[in-house]
Symmetry: C2
């Protein structure tokens, strides 16, 4: 299993990226990581984290796409950036997967530019794993495609289902369409047409119909399909809300406790932070790529990178793309 | 101040609705409430809650729109429903405001059908008040208009600003446009055109540009503008997430505490529930109506109804609509 890792992508890159890579290759059998980025910055870190002699190599890329740069412009102005180099390694068959915590728009943009899609897939979509009372579920798309067609959303449901089954071990994933009401006629033209597409497809029995916002964290579906604009806003709103709530809740509880109670409360909140933290979920796959692309949160630490590399390896081992192809053939 | 209150609207109607009305007219000077609904159900409750002799009257409506009924169909099939009767009382000038915890789609649908808009306003929008670290802020629209035009979103910003200033006492409200990135060119055609409209308007100095999902609960804007599809999904996702988090957080903290600590923790969570509870915020106005329309959460209790009646009275006293008209004249 060979993975290209964008060493320069992320708010704190390259340090935690390189650290995560060293940790991953030390613990995962058969993993080879290609660190893509500025050789003069990356190589000393490999050495510092004790990576010498491990299955790691560095491929130089002289340019970096900034986290807040306009993706389209950055990709045009910086042809030797680390993200595009990762995609090229994938296209050349030098690696099986790529992992990046860099500018998400640029990772997706470069992927669309390369057009290495699974045959039959019209547009890839980003799937994130979110917690629910009945276990983890998949929200797709969270930003790869802000102008989707009904067919794109249908394929997101299909791919999300395979992902939920193979990677999250959900036995028979239920697919829901995120909408403003539960009746089939609710919402806009996109959701109405998508609803019909699911209902008329071979996935009809797994399709639970429209689900509302409040059902997202109620475990009513294992795969939640939405357009990339809505998904992106929802994901980020949730991030902000969790952060605010954990802070204000901790304050409210702690100011009523004495020393021992406070220690116990702080411990509880550490557990909760881990439960709700993006790093627990090992990155978000860009589903629909012929190959594997895992997108990590910009603020990824070494643990998040390590988990993302493990997810990419699992994705390959379980032949998720082959199963997506089989499902596509059924439709 | 005369308010028509939909006595039959809400998950637990008419009981908590009538109770809230009795409590409101007992405590708010100059308030007269018209309870609209099934006379045989409403009058005994007025009596039971001690409302006889208070400024309450009952206007009979023989039909009720169910909470899960299709709004368009219900309005067509049930011409004598309590929601439509409330709107008619407003149109006839018999009341200054209407308050309903009934089927939101039907309340909005009946309002659109009556077309009693403030002159110059193209489409009304629902504004909800949400908490943030810097104080309450306004999210508009959360479901009245799922196919808005840029001009609608611009007017939502304008009306939301007046509401934040007058009702929430925000000195100089900052208006943000909910989007998938902060640059002006981000998002879809709707957001790009809306961005331009704000930047070229008399509200340009108050417009802070695009804000991302994670900024919603970070206090980066006092008025957050979005289309009704996105706003509805976001609002409901947040409701579900808050519920799940309060439950799981309480569990996690409590299982680490002893008796006294548990009592203190439970008290803290009661405070938090109140802070995040819809009833605290007194209902959501449908802004843009020539008159006042306050929409309450379906699960409203008597306290929520009382707060909504108070909000409607404040809305009238502070002449919010006159101030919206003045702002419209500036553009």
């Amino acid at each position: 299993m060979r993975i290209a890792l964008d060493a320069m992508g992320g708010d704190y890159a390259p340090r935690p990226i390189v650290q995560g890579a060293v940790e991953a290759v030390s613990t995962l059998d058969g993993l080879e990581v290609t660190l893509v980025g500025d050789r003069s910055a990356v190589e000393p870190l490999v050495c510092e984290f004790g990576g010498d002699g491990l299955p790691l190599r560095v491929v130089h890329a002289s340019q970096v796409v900034g986290m807040d740069e306009s993706p389209a412009e950055a990709l045009r102005r910086k042809p030797d950036n680390s993200i595009l180099r990762c995609w090229q390694l994938l296209a050349e068959g030098q690696v099986d997967a790529l992992v990046s915590a860099g500018n998400t728009g640029a990772v997706v943009g470069a992927g669309l530019f390369m057009r290495r899609f699974i045959p039959g897939i019209k547009r890839p979509g980003i799937a994130v794993t979110i917690p629910s009372p009945t276990g983890p579920c998949v929200l797709i798309d969270v930003g790869a495609n802000t102008h989707p067609k009904p067919e794109h959303l249908f394929q997101y449901g299909l791919m999300g289902m395979v992902y939920a089954k193979e990677i999250l071990h959900v036995h028979e994933p239920r697919i829901g369409l995120l909408n403003v009401g539960t009746e089939g006629v609710k919402g806009n033209e996109l959701t109405r047409e998508t609803h019909r597409k699911f209902a008329d497809s071979h996935l009809a029995t797994q399709f639970v119909g429209n689900i509302e916002g409040r059902d997202v964290f109620a475990g009513r579906a294992d795969v939640i399909v939405c357009d990339g604009f809505v998904g992106n806003v929802v994901l980020k709103v949730c991030e902000g809300l969790v952060e605010m709530m954990l802070r204000t809740t901790a304050e409210e509880v702690i100011r009523r406790q004495d020393g021992q109670g406070r220690a116990a409360t702080l411990e509880a909140f550490e557990t909760l932070k881990r439960r709700y933290h993006y790093s627990t979920y090992g990155g978000a796959p860009l589903l629909g790529i012929d190959g594997i692309c895992i997108i990590c949160h910009g603020s990824s630490d070494a643990a998040a990178i390590r988990n993302a590399l493990r997810t990419a390896a699992e994705f390959a081992r379980l032949r998720v793309n082959d199963k997506i192809k089989s499902e596509l053939a059924l439709d």
